[in-house]
Subunit: 306 residues, 2 copies
């Protein structure tokens, strides 16, 4: 593949950036990849495992001469990072990000961008419960969606190159506006994460049921919640604080529905419960038909024979 | 392996019973396995795929001469089934079940048991989101827990044989009393299922966010909820109706915690959120260390290379 960029700078070296590096290398999407992480320990780990062609001790050095800069830090850290690097960006460089919230990131980044540079917000819908520089792998983005939020007055060819990068990483790319993105993600990601965190917290709190029993017998359903409740705490704190309105709106809807189901349980309304559970089953089929999950029972955790 | 039972009768031929059949055959745990399902279509499927040595058109025929009868029907169907078969049980036969709720099942089954027969309630903590006679597989119970709830005055050797069956199926066996079981399962299974059903229902309801978008972008977290919300509607309706008090208690705790986190989002209390999310991460590690889930990222849905 012809490289899409000459030099890509990854700012922040966690799960997403490290997966981008291995994916860029897999497909030859850039001639060179530089990296920077705030933590000296992360930089050391990155050097040890060969993550990035060069890992620099400052963000300013990492972005020098780069034609694409990827902000791969928690949403709340975007503004300090763009302030740090703004004066060091190459003329005409493109800045992109991978944050889970878009309206907030745009308002944090866009005002600091020098003339002639462009910001193309992006959000790859991919991740695992692991974090840090050693958690990345080239296939993370394969067949996952990446949402681009092109801003007004951004030249088409600038957006097209960011799209080409994500397609090269294996993603399907869609474009969306920022507010719609933040609402869709509140439904498909932010509210489910908060709910999973809550359920796991409840289980941890219950002293009558000891922790060890909760863990021992988790295969009955609970363990699926613990996977997403094991996601990076800093990243998720920032998501909820910066997508507050949409998240609270969806949680309000959730609470309403939960109360209706609790009431059906209390009053013994089996028909209501059965109808509800039948409807939700169809959604699972839709996800599998859309290629967004595997149909193997139990996520394919076990090998199946008869 | 020496057979544990001469003749096992499986009443109900869904995911659990069909997995038991393949597991019994894998390890030679019974000389003969008979089966019965209420639906003619299920019986027909079972015959076609070779599920059970004999599939009978009545439960009475299926249990005749069996030394172990497994009630593998939804919890709400236990009483009609035991009434149907009580007069046809062989002298000294053992009856067991696989229901997810124990106090209710005991009160439904025990009064109908003929003298000389014994009821040993059991609950294998294993399952998938699939259901029906074609969904079973021999490995379902491997390394999963099976909880036995021995009743007073049941001879030790009767319980020991049921235990030997489950150990032969690959399970680890624990004993527990009925009320404690019902509370533990409300935490580890019943409340999480209701919460997952609710979240999936909310997503389905939202017309501003179209169904297709929810499905398309589900990989951001939501799809994990859809797996457990795709479980059998009849089974789960019965679970909630028959473990009402414990489920409602845990849901009450859940709502309290959810409100506290919502408040932290609204007031911008990032420290509270970060502390909470850090605590829940540790629980995931406990589950992996206990061998109750795999550590592969994303449940191992993707193959990882660097």
């Amino acid at each position: 593949m012809t490289p899409v960029y000459e030099r890509v700078a990854l700012i922040g070296l966690g799960l997403i950036a490290s997966s981008m590096f291995w994916g860029i290398r897999r497909s030859g999407l850039a001639r060179e990849v530089t990296g920077y992480a705030r933590s000296a320990e992360t930089r050391e780990t990155a050097r040890r495992i060969g993550l990035c062609d060069h890992v620099f001790d400052t963000a300013a050095e990492a972005v020098a001469g780069a034609d694409l800069i990827v902000l791969a830090v928690p949403v709340g850290a975007m503004e300090p990072v763009i302030r740090d690097i703004a004066d060091h960006l190459a003329p005409g460089a493109t800045v992109t990000d991978v944050g889970s919230v878009k309206r907030h990131v745009i308002s944090a980044v866009q005002p600091h961008l020098p003339d002639g540079c462009h910001f193309v917000p992006a959000h790859p819908l991919a991740g695992t419960e692991h974090s840090g520089p050693e958690s990345g792998f080239a296939e993370l983005f394969d067949n996952r969606w990446c949402l681009l939020i092109p801003l007004e007055n951004t030249p088409d060819q600038v957006v097209a190159r960011v799209r080409a990068l994500w397609e090269g990483l294996g993603s399907n790319v869609d474009e969306m506006d920022a507010d719609h993105h933040d609402l869709v993600l509140a439904v498909t990601s932010h509210a489910p994460h908060l709910i999973a965190y809550t359920m796991v917290g409840v289980a941890d709190d219950l002293r009558r049921v000891t922790d060890s029993e909760v863990i021992k017998y988790s295969a009955a359903g609970f363990r699926d919640f613990t996977r997403i409740a094991a996601s990076d705490p800093t990243m998720w704190r920032d998501v909820f604080l910066t997508n507050k309105d949409a998240t609270l709106e969806i949680l309000g809807r959730f609470t309403e529905e939960l109360f209706a189901l609790q009431r059906a349980i209390r009053t013994g309304d089996g028909q209501h419960l059965h109808d509800y559970f039948t409807r939700t089953r169809a959604i699972r089929r839709g996800i599998i038909e859309a290629g967004q999950d595997i149909d193997a029972p139990d996520f394919g955790r076990t090998t199946v024979t008869k």
